[in-house]
Amino acid sequence: MNTTKERVKVMKLADLPKQIGKEVMINGKSIALFHLTNGDVRAVLNSCPHKNGPLAEGIVSGEFVFCPLYDWKISLVTGEVQKPDNGRVETFETQIIDEYIYVMV
C-alpha cells in the first residue's frame, strides 16, 4: 500500500516562528507545520481526528499541540492523541536542507 513519497520544498526555516503553527497546502493537503522550541520541525495533517479542528491554530507546548476546537492534546512526534481521548493524526517527515524546510508527502 506504499506509494512513493515526494519531498516538497515548503518554506524558509527562518520564516516559521517558534511555537506558532503554520498552515501549508501541499498537493492539495492542508498540513500544519510547527517549529518547536527545541529546534525540531514537525508536521501533521491540519485536521484533528475528533472533529477536524485546524491544529495549526492550537497552543503548542513542548512536543504537543492542543486542538483549538475541543482541546484534544496531540503529540507532534507520533501523532497520537493523548489520554483520555483516543485517535491518531497523520504525521509527515520533515527535513531542513540549506535553511529550507522540506516535507515528505
Binding site: V10, K51, P68, K83, P84, R88
Partner: protein, 801 residues
C-alpha cells in the same frame, strides 16, 4: 509461531473478549474478525439513545477503525461467514474467502425475531437491533405518522419513546396483561404504564397480532380478536433469536443457542461461543453484563490463565426511558419461599419491594426512585445477612445523604458499573494512580459508564469522595492546572514575592510538570504576567487561545468572524455601506447582528481576515476577547419618552474608557435609561440603571449557563462617578479573580459584601483607577497593531505550493 484466532461476529461481546485476550497476551495470536455489519464495534445499547435523539451514530462506536489497525487485527466487515469446515478448520465467507483457524470464536449475537405473520415482509416492518434499523426508523418518522411497536418489554418501550421523540403517534401492543413482565411485578408495571401514558404512549394490552396488512407497505395490523389499527411503521420488539444456523450446520451442540461449558467451549474443543449466541446452563443471556463476564472467562481460558470460568449471572435491569426510574434484580414474584417488604406510595408514585428468603435478599423491584438499586443488588449478590436490619433500614440507605453516603458505604469489591463489571476499587485505584479528575477520564481508563451510562452519578460521587478524601488527608487544594498543585493565588503571590518576570521563569522556578505548560496555564500565566507588570511584560501571542491570537472567533469549520466595533450599537450610513461592500467583495456567507448590538461577518477564510480589516478601516469589536465585549445601551433620553438620562451616551463613554484591557474573562456591561430595563442590565458584569436623580450601579450579574442577578453597589449622581467606579471595579476584578472566572462566580466566591466594602471606601478608588489607566495605556487597537506588523500578518497566511 502465532496461533490463528478467528472470530465470527464483530459485536460487543466478541470484541470485548478480544480486548481481554489482548490484555492478557498480545503476542500469541493472529486475529481475524469477520462481521456482517458495515461498522466497527458499536454500542448497541445506545441505539435507543440515538433514536431518542440523545446521541448520534458517530458517537456510539466503542472501537473505531483505528483500534483494529493498531492491534493488528485483520477486520472484514460487510462480509458474512456462511460455513464452518471443522475437519479442515476453515471458515468460508459469502465472498468465497477461506480463512483457516487454530481457534474459533463464534460471537454471532442475535437477530430481532420477526413474527412469521402474513405481511411480515411488507415494507415498513422492521426489528430494532442494528444501526440500519435505527436509521430506517428515523427516516420513517420524517415522512410518516403512525407507528405500532409489537412488544411491551424493555426494548419495545425504548423504541416507542424514541419514536414519540421523533414526532410519531405510537401504540405499543403487548400480549400479556402487564408491561415488562420479565422484570416487573403487577404493581410496578401499572405505575410504569401510567407514567408512559402521561408521555403520550398508548397501549393495546392482551392483543395478539394475526396479520399485517397492506399493498407494498404496511397500512394496518389485524389482531386475533378481530380489531385492527392503522399504521405506517411496525417495529417488532418481541424478542431476539440467537444466530446459530452456522453452528447447527457445523453439527455443534445447539439448543436454543450454542451450548457451552463454564469456559465457553462448545462441543468442539477448538471452537468457542460467547455472547447472545451462547447457552450456558440452559440460559442464553440478552443483557450486556453477563456477556462481558463470559468474555473474561473465555479470555482467561484461551490464554491459559487459571480461572473458575463463568458461573452464570443474576440479572439486574435499569430502564432508560425518560422520566421512568426503575430497577429490578433477582426474583420479582413472591412464592412460598419468600417474604416481602413492600412500600407502595401511590401518591408519590413510588414502589419498593424486596423479597427475602432465609434472611437474605433474593429479589428487588423498585419503581419511581431506583437510586437504591445498586446498594440492594450488591447485598443480594453478597448474600448479606439482613437479620440485624429493621425493615425500614433495609429499604433506605443509612443516611439521607443519597449518592455520597452510598459511595462511602460501598466496599472496594462492590460493582459500580454493572454493564462493564467495574468495581469501586478499580475506579478509586485509577483515580489515584492516574490522577483522574473527570467522569470522562474515568470512563476512558476503566470503561465505567461506557455502556448504558446510568452509573455516571455514582462515578462522579466516587470522584468527589476520592479527591475530597485526599484533600482532607494532606490539605492539598486543586491546582490551577494539571501542571501544578499550586492554586492561582499561590502562583500570583510567588510571582510578586520572587519578582518572576516571564511565564517561562514561573514554570521553571515553581516546578511546573511541563516546561512549556498546557492549554490552561499558558494563557493564564500570560494574563497574570501582563496584569501584574503591564508596562514591562511583552504579550506572548503563542500563549493566547486562537480567538485572541487571531483577533477573531474561530468557527466550527476553521473560518473566522470579523466584527467591528460599534459603540453603543450605533452606526452611520457610511459605515453600513462600507461593511456591506466588504461583505460583498469577500463573499461573506453570513452577515448577522450579534447579541452585543453589532454587525458580525461570519465564515471568513483565515487568509482574508487581515485584508477585510484593512478594507474596513474600523476598530476591532473585541467580540472574541477576555476583555470588555460591549456596553449594551437603550436609546435613552435622546429619543425615548421614558429615558431619565442619556443612557446611550454613557454607554458609549464606558465602552471607550474600558475597552481592550485584558480581564480574567469576558465582561459584558449595560446602561439602561429607566427601570424598564430594556437594555437587560441586571444580568451583566456591570450594569447601570438610570433614574431621575442619578445612576444605580449593579455588578456581578451573568446571563449565561447559570443566570445570576446583579448585586446593587450604590447610586451616584454623575456620569464621571459611574465611569470611575467602573474602572476601579474592573481593576479589582483583574487583580483578584482566577483566569477563566466570570465576575458572577468570582463575586459568589469572594462575597458581594467584600466587593461593595472595597469599592465604597473612598481611599481605594484612586490607586485602583491609576493601575487601570496605566494598563490601558499599554494597549493598542488590535487591527491597527496587526496591520502594521508583517510578522503578525504572516500568521494569517497559508503557504501554498
Amino acid at each position: 509461531m502465532k496461533k490463528r484466532l478467528v472470530m465470527i461476529g464483530n459485536g460487543m461481546a466478541g470484541v470485548r473478549t478480544v480486548e481481554e485476550i489482548l490484555k492478557r497476551d498480545a503476542q500469541s495470536f493472529d486475529i481475524t474478525i469477520i462481521g456482517d455489519e458495515n461498522h466497527p464495534n458499536y454500542n448497541r445499547i445506545m441505539l435507543s439513545n440515538v433514536l431518542q435523539g440523545k446521541t448520534t451514530v458517530d458517537e456510539i462506536n466503542i472501537n473505531d477503525w483505528d483500534w483494529y489497525k493498531e492491534n493488528n487485527i485483520n477486520l472484514l466487515t460487510g462480509e458474512k461467514a456462511i460455513q464452518i469446515d471443522r475437519k479442515n478448520k476453515v471458515v468460508v465467507t459469502d465472498q468465497k474467502k477461506h480463512i483457516g483457524y487454530d481457534e474459533l470464536i463464534i460471537a454471532t449475537g442475535s437477530s430481532a425475531f420477526i413474527l412469521p405473520l402474513p405481511g411480515s415482509d411488507l415494507e415498513g416492518v422492521i426489528g430494532f437491533r442494528t444501526i440500519e434499523d435505527t436509521e430506517k426508523m428515523m427516516e420513517t418518522a420524517k415522512k410518516y405518522k403512525k407507528a405500532v411497536v409489537i412488544g411491551g418489554g424493555l426494548l419495545g418501550l425504548e423504541a416507542a419513546r424514541g419514536l414519540i421523540d421523533r414526532g410519531m403517534d405510537v401504540h405499543v401492543v403487548h400480549i400479556m396483561p402487564t408491561l415488562m413482565e420479565q422484570q416487573l411485578d403487577k404493581a410496578a408495571a401499572n405505575l410504569l404504564r401510567k407514567d408512559l401514558e402521561a408521555q403520550g404512549m398508548k397501549f393495546l394490552m392482551e392483543k395478539q397480532t394475526a396479520e399485517i396488512c397492506g399493498e407494498n407497505r404496511v397500512e394496518s395490523l389485524k389482531f386475533t380478536d378481530g380489531t385492527s389499527i392503522a399504521c405506517d411503521l411496525v417495529v417488532m420488539a418481541v424478542g431476539i433469536r440467537p444466530n446459530v444456523a452456522i453452528a447447527r450446520e457445523a453439527e455443534l451442540e445447539v439448543n436454543r443457542a450454542i451450548v457451552v461449558n463454564d469456559h465457553m467451549v462448545t462441543s468442539d474443543e477448538s471452537i468457542y461461543a460467547v455472547g447472545e449466541c451462547a447457552e450456558h446452563k440452559g440460559i442464553a443471556y440478552g443483557l450486556v453484563a453477563p456477556l462481558y463476564e463470559q468474555g473474561i472467562a473465555l479470555a482467561d481460558h484461551i490464554t491459559g490463565k487459571e480461572s473458575k470460568g463463568y458461573q452464570g449471572s443474576i440479572l439486574s435491569t435499569q430502564l432508560k426511558v425518560a422520566g421512568c426510574d426503575l430497577f429490578s434484580g433477582g426474583k420479582i414474584h413472591e412464592d412460598d419461599q419468600t417474604e416481602a417488604i413492600i412500600v407502595h406510595d401511590q401518591f408519590a408514585k413510588k414502589y419498593k419491594k424486596i423479597l427475602i428468603t432465609d434472611n437474605k435478599i433474593v429479589g428487588i423491584v423498585l419503581y419511581g426512585d431506583a437510586s437504591d438499586g445498586n446498594r440492594l443488588f450488591n447485598m443480594l449478590k453478597k448474600q448479606a445477612d439482613i437479620s440485624e436490619y429493621t425493615s425500614t433500614s433495609v429499604l433506605s440507605s443509612a443516611n439521607a445523604g443519597g449518592e455520597e453516603d452510598l459511595v462511602t458505604a460501598m466496599s472496594a469489591e462492590d460493582t459500580v458499573c454493572g454493564c462493564n463489571g467495574v468495581t469501586k476499587g478499580t475506579i478509586v485505584q485509577s483515580i489515584l494512580e492516574q490522577g483522574l479528575t473527570t467522569f470522562e477520564e474515568v470512563k476512558g481508563c476503566t470503561k465505567a459508564g461506557g455502556s448504558c451510562g446510568k452509573c455516571k452519578p455514582m462515578v462522579e460521587s466516587i470522584l468527589a469522595h476520592t479527591l475530597g478524601d485526599k484533600f482532607d488527608a494532606s490539605a492539598q487544594k486543586l491546582g490551577m492546572c494539571s501542571c501544578t498543585e499550586l492554586t492561582r493565588d499561590e502562583v500570583v503571590a510567588q510571582i510578586m514575592e520572587k519578582g518572576l518576570k516571564t511565564p517561562k521563569e514561573v514554570r521553571n522556578v515553581l516546578g511546573f510538570a511541563h516546561e512549556e505548560g498546557c492549554s490552561k496555564c499558558r494563557p493564564a500565566l500570560n494574563y497574570y504576567m501582563r496584569m501584574l507588570r503591564p508596562e514591562e511584560y511583552e504579550d506572548d501571542k503563542a500563549s493566547r487561545f486562537v480567538n485572541e491570537k487571531m483577533e477573531g472567533n474561530i468557527q466550527k469549520d476553521g473560518t473566522f468572524s470579523v466584527i467591528p466595533r460599534m459603540y453603543g450599537g450605533t452606526t452611520t450610513a457610511e459605515d453600513l455601506i462600507r461593511i456591506g461592500e466588504v461583505a460583498k467583495k469577500y463573499n461573506v456567507p453570513l452577515v448577522k447582528v450579534t447579541g452585543a448590538s453589532r454587525i458580525g461577518l461570519y465564515g471568513v477564510k483565515k487568509e482574508d481576515v487581515p485584508k477585510m480589516w484593512e478594507d474596513l478601516g474600523m476598530r476591532s469589536g473585541y467580540a472574541y476577547s477576555k476583555s470588555l465585549r460591549n456596553v449594551k445601551s437603550c436609546v435613552g433620553s435622546r429619543f425615548c419618552r421614558f429615558g431619565t438620562q442619556d443612557s446611550l451616551g454613557l454607554g458609549i463613554k464606558l465602552e471607550q474608557a474600558l475597552e481592550m484591557v485584558d480581564t480574567p474573562h469576558k465582561m459584558k456591561m449595560g446602561v439602561t435609561g429607566c427601570p424598564r430595563n430594556c437594555a437587560e442590565v441586571l444580568t451583566k458584569d456591570y450594569g447601570i440603571v438610570c433614574v431621575e436623580n442619578g445612576y444605580q450601579i449593579y455588578f456581578g450579574g451573568n446571563g449565561g449557563t447559570e443566570v445570576r442577578e446583579c448585586d446593587l453597589l450604590t447610586t451616584v449622581k454623575t456620569e464621571e462617578e459611574v465611569i470611575t467606579i467602573a474602572k476601579a471595579y474592573m481593576q479589582l476584578y483583574r487583580e483578584h479573580a482566577n483566569y477563566g472566572e466570570r465576575t458572577a462566580p468570582w463575586v459568589e466566591r469572594v462575597g458581594a459584601e467584600w466587593v461593595k466594602e472595597t469599592l465604597l471606601k473612598e481611599e481605594n478608588i484612586a490607586p485602583l483607577v491609576e493601575c487601570f489607566e496605566k494598563a490601558k495605556g499599554t494597549y493598542q487597537e488590535a487591527w491597527a497593531s496587526v496591520l502594521q506588523d508583517d510578522k503578525k500578518k504572516e500568521m494569517y497566511q497559508v503557504v501554498r505550493n
